[in-house]
């Protein structure tokens, strides 16, 4: 701390700008601790004396009533100290985050395999795990509903459906020159945060609990722990130093661990640690929603959409959890970047007897975008146009003179199907720029020629945009608090409601504070997120971390600065306007004698000491709430988002059509983060988000067996991207000179989730490569993830379509395509 001041002279410091301020590529605040192994995660905390270890026994069936439970043998197993069931819960038994439906331990009906029924505290985690096998539970099996189709047929929902409507889609489609329909199934995704779910709970002397959680939502953990114990929220403190990855998986899913550990800590009076094994984590905690999407679209001969009907059905699992908001967000994003004109969008929340699906980076947005990106490719194949051309024509804000509104004026094409105006038009230029910088059109023709000459290896190319709405769609969550102290040595302590999960929130907010006081970043120490420092916080989610907490921290800074400046004005007998902070100093322009103005430079620490001696407050809380947002769910209209973040990616792939294997060869990304708070951190979010999205759409496949058991329950059979999957040629750039048109923190834009969806370009490129087998006349069905198996199926389907089509055309004696061109495509089935 303050090392630089000791090494440099005051004069030297005065002449240089502060280090690591806003907009600098400051390193993650924990970077050195990460590489030396000194960063402490929950499981690394030295265990309190007598700490017990928790394991939880889960349901063996997807849907069953419990007939009887006998846990005597569990209690008598080696090392076991305590065993609890729902009857041991002194307070609330339901820990559903928004709506009820999530019992902390099963009461009578089990609704997914692995649902917690009883919990064990033992001397060691191995003993706790081994004791579970001694449970004697009798079940009465019921018929489970395990898939979206069955749930739709039986109207089995966790929440009622919701509709958004603009104009008359049905009529627009019926009047359109072209009409297409399609459907897709998109599987969910396991978060696979490297640090699994974990909570350590220590009883306090006030009959409360100190909770060390790996959670994106400490306030909710605090509330739920208090509720299950039946004590006041003020009896519970939750601390989150850092998470080893969150990605949405620790928004609601961390709370059950804290609650169960707290119940056992309450019963035993001893500290209890509940760390899930990887397999339990994969089976017992929620994942991204599967979606089954369908569309019907009407469009003109240029491929411009005139009307669309879209149905999005999410597989929500056994409880509402966050599914209402997630399916809503899918609906808000099924237009992605395109003006649908007349549109009807239905979002359905299917209940299934599988673990409740939950938040995951993008929060339904990715699944919504997939349907319209599929639609774009399908329209292009239908018309024989390049998919990029069709995408560009349909962008918001791209005006076509011949397309008029009902009153005859040219349609500005800038209002979403839910009534929000897309105010800042970034994408038309951004996509143009990326198409040029990635040499899209040159490579397109190279690839066509490559494919014409390559018999089995086929290349594909796709350039897809994203437009992602920023704000919680639940209005009250759009608030944040911060707490800042300045100590008498001039060091600054920063705390806010946001949690650090690797995304660099702590360093970004610290940079904001450094900027506010014009001091070096190293002067600021960020402390662990704690519910007793900043209360009633929102989850660190929805990409909102720096938008909300940065603003709250700035508010606290402004309060302190205002007092400091008032004091300084008084002390130095100048106007407040003659005082400012610069280069680690307070700068006072003294001008009482008009003839010779004098500037006084007071080192920051010296000035703070002076302020302290003069009894100036050096601590403040800050608060922020996002302005302008509203959404009326009754009519499906409003402005749910403060603004949109944008980006586009161009991906090139190669596919082995004999095996379905593929490789991503090159990816170019241009992304809009407004005015970047920290370009290095932002690039890291973009690259990491893209690869995670690529994993979702390629190798990461959740599999469930016929009984509803997750068979992809280990990293041995669930494959997230490895180092070799990173594109060999990976070019990521931030959109320059693009400040947010809304007054966000230093005109920056949120960056956590949006880049995830750039990976749709990979899925689209794979489809493009397969489509080449039909000379780009066929848009092959391709679900997600596009595993090698899925790609080979698409290859086989495309080949049989092409064979059938050619036969028909030969029979009709009216070949639609250049005969030479077809001859150059050797038919694989036919051999040589």
């Amino acid at each position: 701390m303050l090392k630089s001041e000791q090494q440099e002279t005051t004069a030297q410091i005065r002449c240089r700008p502060p280090k690591g301020r806003m907009g600098h590529k400051a390193q993650h605040d924990s970077a050195q601790k990460h590489v030396t192994g000194k960063a402490i995660y929950i499981d690394d905390i030295v265990e309190p004396k007598g700490c017990l270890h928790v394991a939880v026994g889960g349901s063996r069936f997807a849907h069953a009533k419990i007939k009887s439970i006998n846990l005597e043998a569990v209690k008598n197993a080696p090392g076991v100290v305590e065993v609890i069931t729902i009857t041991d819960v002194p307070g609330h038994t339901d820990i559903g985050p928004v709506f009820p439906g999530d019992p902390v331990l099963v009461d009578s009906v089990c609704e997914y395999i692995g649902q917690p029924i009883f919990a064990v505290a033992a001397q060691s985690s191995l003993e706790a795990k081994q004791a579970l096998a001694f449970a004697d539970i009798e079940y009465i099996e019921c018929t489970p509903i395990l898939d979206i189709d069955t749930a739709l047929a039986e109207k089995y929902y966790v929440r009622p459906p919701h509709q958004q409507k603009r104009g008359d889609a049905e009529q627009a489609i019926s009047e359109a020159e072209h009409v297409l329909s399609g459907s897709q199934y998109i599987k969910g995704q396991e978060h696979f945060y490297l640090e699994g779910q974990v909570s350590l709970v220590v009883p306090t002397e006030d009959d409360g609990m100190m909770v060390y959680a790996s959670s994106q939502h400490p306030t909710e953990v605090q509330k739920l722990v208090a509720e299950v114990l039946g004590i006041g929220i003020n009896k519970v403190q939750v601390e989150v130093q850092r998470m080893g990855g969150g990605f949405g998986g620790k928004e609601t899913q961390a709370a059950p661990l804290a609650c169960i550990a707290a119940l056992l800590a309450h019963k035993t009076g001893r500290a209890c640690k509940y760390r899930m094994t990887r397999q339990d984590d994969m089976i017992m905690t929620g994942k991204r929603h599967d979606f089954q999407n369908a569309y019907t679209v009407g469009f003109d001969k240029q491929g411009i959409i005139q009307g669309a009907q879209i149905t999005l059905a999410g597989k929500c699992g056994n409880s509402p959890d966050l599914s209402d908001a997630i399916v809503d967000r899918a609906m808000f994003h099924c237009d992605n970047a395109y003006y649908l004109n007349h549109a009807t969008v239905d979002g359905i929340r299917c209940k299934t007897h599988t673990v409740s699906a939950t938040a995951f980076r993008g929060f339904g947005g990715p699944q919504g975008m997939m349907v319209v990106e599929m639609m774009m490719d399908d329209i292009a194949r239908e018309l024989g146009e390049d998919p990029l051309t069709v995408r560009q024509r349909n962008l918001y804000g791209v005006i076509h003179d011949h397309i008029k509104t009902a009153d005859g004026s040219i349609d500005p094409r800038n209002e979403t199907h839910y009534g929000q105006t897309v105010a800042q038009q970034v994408l038309p230029d951004l996509m143009d720029t990326l198409a040029k910088s990635s040499d899209y059109w040159v490579r397109r023709s190279e690839i066509e020629s490559f494919n014409a000459h390559s018999r089995y290896m086929k290349k594909g190319l796709a350039l897809t945009p994203i437009k992602f709405g920023i704000s919680f769609t639940v209005q009250h969550l759009n608030q944040a608090g911060a707490l800042i102290h300045i100590y008498t040595d001039g060091s600054i302590h920063l705390n806010h409601g946001g949690t650090e999960m690797g995304q660099g929130l702590f360093v970004k907010v610290a940079q904001i504070v450094a900027e506010a006081f014009q001091v070096d970043l190293e002067r600021i120490q960020v402390s662990a997120t704690r519910t007793d420092k900043v209360p009633n916080t929102s989850p660190t989610a929805a990409s909102s971390g720096s938008d909300l907490n940065g603003m709250a921290a700035l508010d606290a800074c402004e309060k302190i600065k205002s007092d400091l400046i008032e004091f300084a004005a008084d002390h130095y007998a100048v106007d407040a306007s003659d005082i400012h902070f610069e280069n680690n100093h307070l700068v006072v322009k003294k001008s009482d004698d008009k003839s010779k103005a004098e500037t006084v430079w007071v080192p920051f620490a010296e000035f703070i000491q002076l302020a302290y001696m003069n009894r100036v407050p050096l601590s403040a809380t800050g608060f922020y709430k996002t302005p302008k947002i509203h959404y009326d769910r009754a009519v499906g209209k409003g402005r749910p988002f403060f603004y949109f973040a944008h980006g586009a990616a161009c991906s090139e792939v190669i596919v082995d059509t004999l095996t379905g294997e593929y490789k991503v060869l090159r990816v170019d990304i241009l992304h809009d983060v407004g005015q970047s708070l920290n370009p290095a951190i932002d690039i890291g979010q973009i690259e990491g988000g893209f690869i995670q999205g690529m994993g979702w759409l390629t190798t990461e496949e959740l599999s469930w067996d016929a009984a509803g058991k997750l068979s992809s329950n280990s990293p041995a059979n669930y494959k997230i991207p490895a180092a070799g999957d990173t594109p060999i040629d990976f070019r990521v750039n931030l959109l320059p000179q693009a400040p947010n048109s809304e007054a966000t923190i230093y005109r920056s834009k949120a960056v956590g989730e949006p880049p995830f969806m750039l990976a749709i370009s990979v899925w689209s490129a794979l489809r493009d490569a397969v489509s080449s087998l039909s000379d780009y006349t066929y848009s092959p069905p391709m679900n997600a993830p596009a595993t090698p198996e899925c790609v080979l199926n698409a290859v086989l389907e495309t080949k049989s379509f092409f064979v059938a089509k050619n036969k028909t055309e030969i029979n009709n004696d009216a070949p639609k395509h250049d005969a030479q061109n077809i001859k150059n495509k050797p038919d694989v089935q036919g051999g040589s």
Binding site: Q27, S30, H34, V35, T36, G37, A39, Y41, L126, Q130, H191, Y193, L194, G244, G245, G246, T277, R278, S449, F450, H453, S454, R455, Y456, K459, M501, G502, Q503, G504, I654, L658, T659, G660, E661, K663, L665, A680, I681, I683, G684, E687, G689, F690, I691, T699, S712, S714, P715, I720, P721, A722, A723, G724, D725, T726, D729, P788, E789, G831, S832
Partner: protein, 568 residues
Amino acid sequence: MLNFYLNGRAVSASHLCADTTLLTYLRTHQNLVGTKEGCASGDCGACTVLLGEYVGTQWVYKSVDACIIFVVQLSGKSIITVEALASNGELHPAQAALMAFHGSQCGFCTPGIVMSLVAFYEAKLSQYKTRDNKNQADSPNSMAVTRQEIETALSGNLCRCTGYRPILDAAQAMFDVDRFPRAQNTVKDTVKIWQPKAPACDPQVNNGAPDDVLPRMVSSKKQAWAPTEEAELKRLIQAHPDATLVAGATDFALKVTQQYQSVSKIISLNSIPELTHVDVTDDHIQIGAAVTYAQLTQIFLKYYPEFGVMLNRLGSQQIRNSGTLGGNITNASPVGDTPPVLIALGASLELGGPSGERSLPISQFFISYKKTALMPGEYLRRITIPKLKEKEYLKVYKISKRLEDDISAMLFALKVTIEDAVITAAKSGFGGMAEIPKGSKRLEESITGKPLTENTFEQAQSAIDQDFSPITDVRASAGYRNEVAKGLIIKSGLELLQDSVDAQVVTRVEQIHDCDSLKCLSQGNPLHHPRQHLHQQSQEQPQNLGPTPAQPSLRPSFRPSGDTDAEV
């Protein structure tokens, strides 16, 4: 007694339970919590540490997963964890580079990534010293590293945050000593940690030693031994027929870490020289049962190029450093990567046991699902593989969801003899197609005696439907396994037909590693117009058969800055 070094300090672990893993030992017994548990199944690499073995006159280190190594396997070894790298605050170049490139986000995988990079760095450094015999020991920045080498070094480390790009960049840049110097003022400490005085347990000392001298651990009715010669092993097996033999334990350890079973007796084979040795004779390669995959990679790349290439996709670097060919065979998984290839190659197994030794063709070793021909008290001693003769060719294909560190959905190996453009002999091996690894008689019959043409292989595809009825599981559907097996039969035919002198031809996505292969692809050199005559090759250059230049090669497009023209 069971002794080893931990961060340069001699430790004794004689009191531990037999089934204590190194990770549990580090985190629980030593409070070295920098080494993380991400999966406890050897899939994520968060627990990567360095394991040193005393070779000749010095300790040589490799990366291993601490979660699936038992402490008993460490007898006489040296372990280094992340805590020991920067004891005086000076970072190892791998750490410094990772920081400089913003290579950590949540940081949980980072210690493991650091250890893999350090293993790579130190191996490169000693390679450099050995090869050039130069005095500037700490100047490896004239060395070229390829992206493929880096990917290999990191193949067992998952990162969910960064997308790996900054880590790959750091791995390349860390060799630049001007930018990331090796700590100078901690050399003394470094030597103490990395090269402790002498092996804690010299294998020779314990020849025929009584039980209390034999490296072993005893605790609460659990026992583990690390015998140092085969005679001891035989005696232990007879005295403790219920003991489990482990070599790498990369699969067996999952019983403890994933199924929470207690294992009361373990015998480690790692310290028996006879079982950890490879002999290359005129006609055969003879491999001890406890030889690791990593020991075999270079040998296989030389004698069975495509087997060697596939070996680089078996598990991860950490798994290859621990896991053994013998374990892969005796584990008898239907999706083990090596048994189908060994079947195609006609390997034989040497079994030891109470009534002496016997030999068995590997094709007769697998009886039914996970059941082998091993009799009670018998153990696998040695694997013997015939070298490829002139006019013999081996093709190996592995299909999995992810290219790196994934278990096969399906694996196909084919050995053919081609004389005057006629296939005169064929032997195949398939994994993932049945409850045991096995060949397809009908495929072999179908192509034997036929001309080497595409048509021959097209005709042979139907053998798959007749010889196999695979199952649908988490890795693939039955339908895909069948389709891809047929696709690979065609592909093997085309590859055998192709003019193999043209190494630019890319016929598999696994061959694409770097900007050179991209360039080659954009110049349009895909597989087409197969020639009807196989290019004649001498036996000395079998690596030209496969289109993959598998050995680390110079890639000018992927070299540390400031580099000139050094070769690897």
